[in-house]
C-alpha cells in the first residue's frame, strides 16, 4: 500500500491504519496497552543497563541497592510508556521532514485510552487521572491517621507511618499542581478564548501521559523500600534514603516536565489563539488564572527539575551536591526545592480562585466585581511568589539578618491575595444568590481559605514561625489553603461543568450529601489539628503526648467521614454518568460564558466560524446587555482589515462587507 506523506508522519492515531480499519476495531494502533508494553520493555532495559554499569560499584556491593538500575529503569520505563502511546511518532517523522496528518474526529470510549489531540478528550482524561492520584493519596492519609488514633498502641509502626506520610504528601503535591490546569485548563481555555484547540496539541497530550507516568513512578517507591523524608525530601535524609527516594526524584522530574509543558501550552495558546475581539480586558477570569499559573509552572518548575536531577546524580554518579563532607551543601537542595515550592502554593491557589470567580458571577447574577483588580492581583501574586521562598528556611540555613526582608515580602503577598479574595466578596455583595451545588462549594472555599490565609499571615512572622515551625499548625494551615481552597473549588467546578463536558447532570441530592459531609468533616479534621499543632505536636511523628489523644482521635474519626464523602462523590459520578444518566438541559446555569453557548456536544473543532467576541462574559443583571459573541463570524476579516494585513486591508472601514465586524473598534489580538 502506498503511503501518503501524512500517513508516514503518523501521530499515534494515524500511521498506516486507515480510518475505516480503526472504525472496525478501535483498539488498533497505539493505546495504553502498547504504552504499558513499552513501559515494561523500557524498565527492563534500564534495569539491565544499570546492572551492567554499576553492579560492581563498591557502594552498590556495600548497600545491596543499585540506584543506577532503579533510576535508569524508571527513566527508560517512562520513555517506553510515551513511545508505546505514540508520543514520539511525529518527532521521529520530523527528522525526515514530514509534517503531521490532521487529527480526525474519533468516537467511542476507547479514545480515552489513547493519545489524542482533541483538547476536550485530554481534559476529561486529565480529570480521571487527577482523581486517581487524589484518591490513592487520600487512602494513605486514612491509614496514617489510624496510627494516630492512639499514642500507645500501634497500627503500622514508625517506618511504614513515615513512608505513608511521605507518599501522601508527595502525591498530593504532584496532583494538586495539575488538579485544575490539567482537566479544566485544557478543556476550557480554548473554548473560553474562542480557539479551535491548543497551540501545541501533541505537547498537551504528552503532558497528560507524563502526569500518568509520574503517578506510576511514585507508586513504585514502596517496592524499593519507600522514603522516610516527607514530601520535602531534605538532604542529607535524601542522600541517605533507601531506593524509594529514586522513585521520588524521578517521579517529581517526570511530573515536573508535564507541568512545564502544560504551562507552556497555556501561555502560548492564550497569547496567540484568541478569537477576534477577545481583548485582554475581555478574557474570562479563569483564563487570567491559567495565564498567570502558566508562567509559574514554566518558570518555577525547571528549578525543581534541576534539584531532582542533581539529587539523582548524587545517588547514582556519586556527585556531592548535597553532601557536606565532600564540598556540597544540604541547603542547596532546600533552596532549589523551595524556589519551586513556594510558587507552587500559588500554582495551586490561583486556578481555584479562577474557577470560583466564574461560578460566583453566574450564581449571584452580578458582574465580576473589580475585574481588573482581580487580574492585577493574580499577576501580583505570581510575581511576588518568586521572592518569598526563603521564609521556609527561617529555621534553617538562612542568615538571620535576611529574615526581616523575607518576612516583609511574604506579608506583602497577602495584599494581592486579599484583592482576589475581596473581588469574590464584592461579587457576592447584594447579588441574587442561588445556592446551587457549585455555589455552595465556592462559598465553602472562601470560608476555608480565610482560615488558611490568616494562619498563613501569622506564619510569615518570624516569631510565630519559630514557635510553630514543623508542627501540625503548619500542616493544618496548608491543608486549609490547598484542600480547603483548591480542592473545594475543583469539586464545585466538577458539578458546574459536568453538564457541559458530558451532557449529564450529577445527582443533586447525592451532591449535597457529598458537599455537607466534605465541608463539615474537613473542618472537623483540620481545625483540631491547628490546635494540636499550637499545643506543640510536631509533624511526621507516629507517637505524641498522651494529653493530645482526644483531639487526635477526634480528627481521625472526622477524617474517616471526610473520606466517606468522597465515596459518595464517586457513587454519584458512577450513578449519574452510567447507571441513571439524565440529559442536562442546554446551559443549565444560564451562564453567559462562550463555552456554554456552543452546541451539545461541543463540535470537534469547537467553532464552525471563528466567533467575534463583543464583550466580557460578566454582564449579569444588566438590562439588554450586548451579546458575548457573534458566532456567525466576520471578525477575522475585520481584525485583519483593521490591522492593515494585505490584501484584507482593502476592507478597512467597510463594515457592510466585513459584517458583522463593524461592532469592534479594537481587533483584540494584535495581528
Amino acid at each position: 500500500m502506498a503511503m501518503t506523506e501524512e500517513a508516514r508522519a503518523g501521530t499515534g492515531q494515524h500511521g498506516r491504519i486507515t480510518a475505516r480499519e480503526r472504525q472496525r476495531n478501535p483498539w488498533l494502533g497505539q493505546s495504553v496497552i502498547t504504552g504499558f508494553a513499552g513501559a515494561a520493555i523500557g524498565y527492563l532495559l534500564g534495569h539491565l543497563f544499570g546492572n551492567i554499569i554499576a553492579s560492581n560499584y563498591a557502594v552498590v556491593k556495600a548497600s545491596g541497592v543499585n540506584n543506577v538500575s532503579i533510576c535508569l529503569g524508571l527513566a527508560l520505563g517512562t520513555l517506553g510508556w510515551l513511545a508505546g502511546l505514540g508520543a514520539f511518532n511525529y518527532a521521529v517523522a520530523k527528522i525526515l521532514g514530514y509534517e503531521p496528518a490532521k487529527e480526525e474526529e474519533t468516537t467511542g470510549w476507547q479514545r480515552y485510552f489513547k493519545m489524542t489531540l482533541d483538547h476536550k478528550v485530554v481534559g476529561l482524561q486529565y480529570l480521571i487521572a487527577v482523581l486517581g492520584f487524589f484518591f490513592t493519596a487520600g487512602l494513605f492519609a486514612e491509614a496514617f491517621r489510624t496510627e494516630l488514633l492512639s499514642p500507645y498502641s500501634h497500627f503500622i509502626g514508625p517506618d511504614v507511618y513515615l513512608q505513608l506520610v511521605s507518599e501522601h504528601g508527595t502525591m498530593m503535591m504532584m496532583m494538586a499542581t495539575s488538579l485544575v490546569v490539567g482537566p479544566f485548563g485544557n478543556y476550557l481555555v480554548p473554548l473560553m478564548i474562542g480557539a479551535r484547540g491548543m497551540a501545541f496539541p501533541r505537547l498537551e497530550a504528552t503532558s497528560l501521559w507524563l502526569f500518568v507516568a509520574g503517578y506510576m513512578v511514585i507508586l513504585t517507591a514502596p517496592v524499593y523500600g519507600g522514603f522516610n523524608t516527607g514530601w520535602t525530601a531534605y538532604a542529607p535524609l535524601q542522600t541517605e534514603a533507601r531506593g524509594g527516594m529514586d522513585s521520588y526524584l524521578i517521579g517529581f522530574g517526570v511530573v515536573g516536565l508535564g507541568m512545564i509543558l502544560n504551562g507552556f501550552n497555556q501561555i502560548v495558546t492564550i497569547t496567540n489563539l484568541r478569537a477576534p475581539g477577545m481583548r485582554w480586558t475581555r478574557l474570562p477570569i479563569f483564563v487570567w488564572a491559567m495565564l498567570t499559573t502558566g508562567f509559574l509552572l514554566t518558570l518555577a518548575t525547571p528549578v525543581l527539575f534541576v534539584g531532582a536531577y542533581l539529587g539523582v546524580l548524587d545517588r547514582t554518579a556519586q556527585t556531592s551536591f548535597y553532601v557536606n563532607a565532600h564540598g556540597g551543601s544540604s541547603y542547596l537542595w532546600e533552596n532549589l526545592f523551595w524556589f519551586f515550592g513556594h510558587p507552587e502554593v500559588y500554582i495551586m491557589a490561583l486556578p481555584g480562585f479562577g474557577l470560583v470567580g466564574e461560578m460566583l458571577t453566574v450564581f449571584s447574577r452580578k458582574p465580576l466585581f473589580a475585574y481588573k483588580v482581580a487580574a492585577a492581583g493574580m499577576i501580583g501574586v505570581a510575581l511576588l511568589s518568586f521572592f518569598v521562598w526563603q521564609h521556609h528556611l527561617f529555621q534553617s540555613g538562612i542568615n538571620p539578618d535576611m529574615r526581616p526582608l523575607f518576612m516583609l515580602d511574604t506579608e506583602l503577598i497577602s495584599i494581592p491575595t486579599g484583592f482576589i479574595y475581596l473581588v469574590g466578596m464584592g461579587t457576592l455583595w447584594r447579588g441574587r444568590i442561588r445556592f446551587t451545588l457549585p455555589m455552595m462549594f465556592s462559598l465553602a472555599m472562601y470560608f476555608n481559605f480565610l482560615i488558611g490565609g490568616i494562619t498563613g499571615v501569622y506564619l510569615s512572622d518570624v516569631p510565630v514561625n519559630v514557635t510553630v515551625h514543623g508542627s501540625f499548625f503548619v500542616l493544618a494551615h496548608f491543608h486549609y489553603t490547598i484542600m480547603g481552597g483548591l480542592v473545594f473549588a475543583f469539586f464545585g467546578a466538577v458539578y458546574y461543568y459536568m453538564p457541559r463536558v458530558t451532557g449529564h447532570m450529577l445527582n443533586e441530592t447525592l451532591g449535597k450529601i457529598h458537599f455537607w459531609m466534605m465541608f463539615v468533616f474537613f473542618n472537623l479534621t483540620f481545625f483540631p489539628l491547628l490546635i494540636v499543632g499550637f499545643l506543640g505536636m510536631p509533624r511526621r511523628v507516629f507517637e505524641y503526648a498522651p494529653r493530645l489523644q482526644g483531639l487526635n482521635a477526634f480528627a481521625t474519626v472526622a477524617d474517616y467521614l471526610l473520606g466517606l464523602s468522597f465515596v459518595v462523590f464517586v457513587a454519584n459520578f458512577i450513578w449519574s454518568m452510567w447507571i441513571d444518566p439524565k440529559p442536562a438541559p442546554h446551559n443549565p446555569w444560564q451562564s453567559r460564558g462562550i463555552e456554554w453557548q456552543l452546541p451539545d456536544p461541543v463540535p470537534f473543532h469547537n467553532f464552525d466560524r471563528l466567533p467575534l467576541i463583543l464583550s466580557d462574559p460578566y454582564h449579569y443583571g444588566e438590562e439588554d446587555p450586548l451579546p458575548v459573541a457573534d458566532f456567525r463570524g466576520g471578525g477575522a476579516l475585520a481584525a485583519l482589515a483593521e490591522a492593515g494585513v494585505a490584501p484584507f486591508d482593502a476592507y478597512a472601514g467597510r463594515p457592510e462587507i466585513a459584517h458583522p465586524a463593524s461592532h469592534i473598534s479594537d481587533p483584540g489580538r494584535e495581528v
Binding site: A199, T269, T298, G307, F321, Y331, L336, A636, L637, L640
Partner: protein, 220 residues
C-alpha cells in the same frame, strides 16, 4: 494568498480571512514558544549556576575546588567553539534564506547540525577523559551536573535545526514556483521561516550559555 480577495463572494472571503487569521496565530505561537522555551531553559541553567555559586561561596570543608582540578581545557574550548560557530553559521544562514538563497541556507543549516553533533560528541567524550571523580568536590559535582545537560540542550537545538532543514528540502519543489522558502507567501513557507527564526534564536542563546559556563569552569 493565491486569489484576489476583492473577487470573492463574502463566504469565501471570510473563510480566507479566517485561514489567514489562524496562520498568523500559528506564526505568533512559534514566536512566543521560542521565547518561552528560552525562558524555561534559562531557569534550568539558572539552577545549575545557582549550585555553582552557592557551593563556591559555601566552600564547605574547603572542598569547593581542590588545587589543580580542572576538566580538559582543550576539549572544553573546542565544544564552546563548535556551539558558537554553529550559532554564527545559523545566523548567517537565516539572512541568506531571507535573501532568497535557499541553497546557501540549507548548507548553513546542515553545517550547524554537524557542528552540534560534534559539540555533543566532544562533550560526551570529555566526560570519559576526566582526571577526577564526580564527588571529589563541589566544583567537580557541578561540572558533572552541567555536562549531560549541555549535551541534552545542544542535541535539542541540533534536532530542531535538522528537522527544519529536512522539512525545507521536502518543500523545495512545492515552494519553487512561488519564490522559494525565503519569499513564498504560502503557509508552509511562512511557517518554515518562523521555525528558522526560532531555531536561530535558540542557537544564539545556547552559544551565550556555553560561553558563560566555559568561563565559569575554565577561566574563573
Amino acid at each position: 494568498m493565491a486569489v484576489d480577495p476583492q473577487m470573492m463572494d463574502p463566504e469565501a472571503l471570510e473563510a480566507e480571512a479566517e485561514a489567514e487569521y489562524d496562520l498568523l496565530g500559528v506564526e505568533g505561537s512559534f514566536w512566543t514558544a521560542t521565547r518561552l522555551l528560552i525562558g524555561i531553559v534559562t531557569f534550568v541553567w539558572a539552577g545549575v549556576a545557582f549550585a555553582y555559586f552557592y557551593l563556591r561561596e559555601s566552600d564547605t570543608h574547603a572542598l569547593w575546588r581542590p588545587h589543580g582540578v580542572t576538566p580538559p581545557t582543550l576539549l572544553g574550548t573546542l565544544i564552546a567553539l563548535c556551539v558558537v560557530a554553529g550559532a554564527a553559521v545559523a545566523v548567517y544562514g537565516k539572512y541568506t534564506l531571507l535573501d532568497g538563497r535557499q541553497v546557501d541556507w540549507g548548507f548553513a543549516a546542515w553545517l550547524t547540525t554537524a557542528l552540534g553533533l560534534v559539540a555533543a560528541g566532544l562533550q560526551i567524550w570529555e566526560l570519559t577523559r576526566l582526571s577526577f571523580l564526580p564527588g571529589l568536590s563541589g566544583y567537580t559535582s557541578v561540572f558533572i551536573g552541567y555536562a549531560p545537560l549541555n549535551v541534552a540542550f545542544i542535541l535539542g537545538g541540533t534536532y530542531w535545526m535538522e528537522t527544519t532543514v529536512a522539512r525545507a528540502m521536502r518543500l523545495r519543489g512545492r515552494l519553487a514556483t512561488t519564490g522559494g522558502a525565503g519569499a513564498s507567501p504560502l503557509p508552509d513557507a511562512r511557517l518554515l521561516r518562523a521555525n528558522v527564526d526560532g531555531v536561530t534564536y535558540f542557537w544564539v542563546y545556547m552559544a551565550l550559555i556555553v560561553a558563560t559556563f566555559w568561563a565559569l569552569f575554565y577561566v574563573l
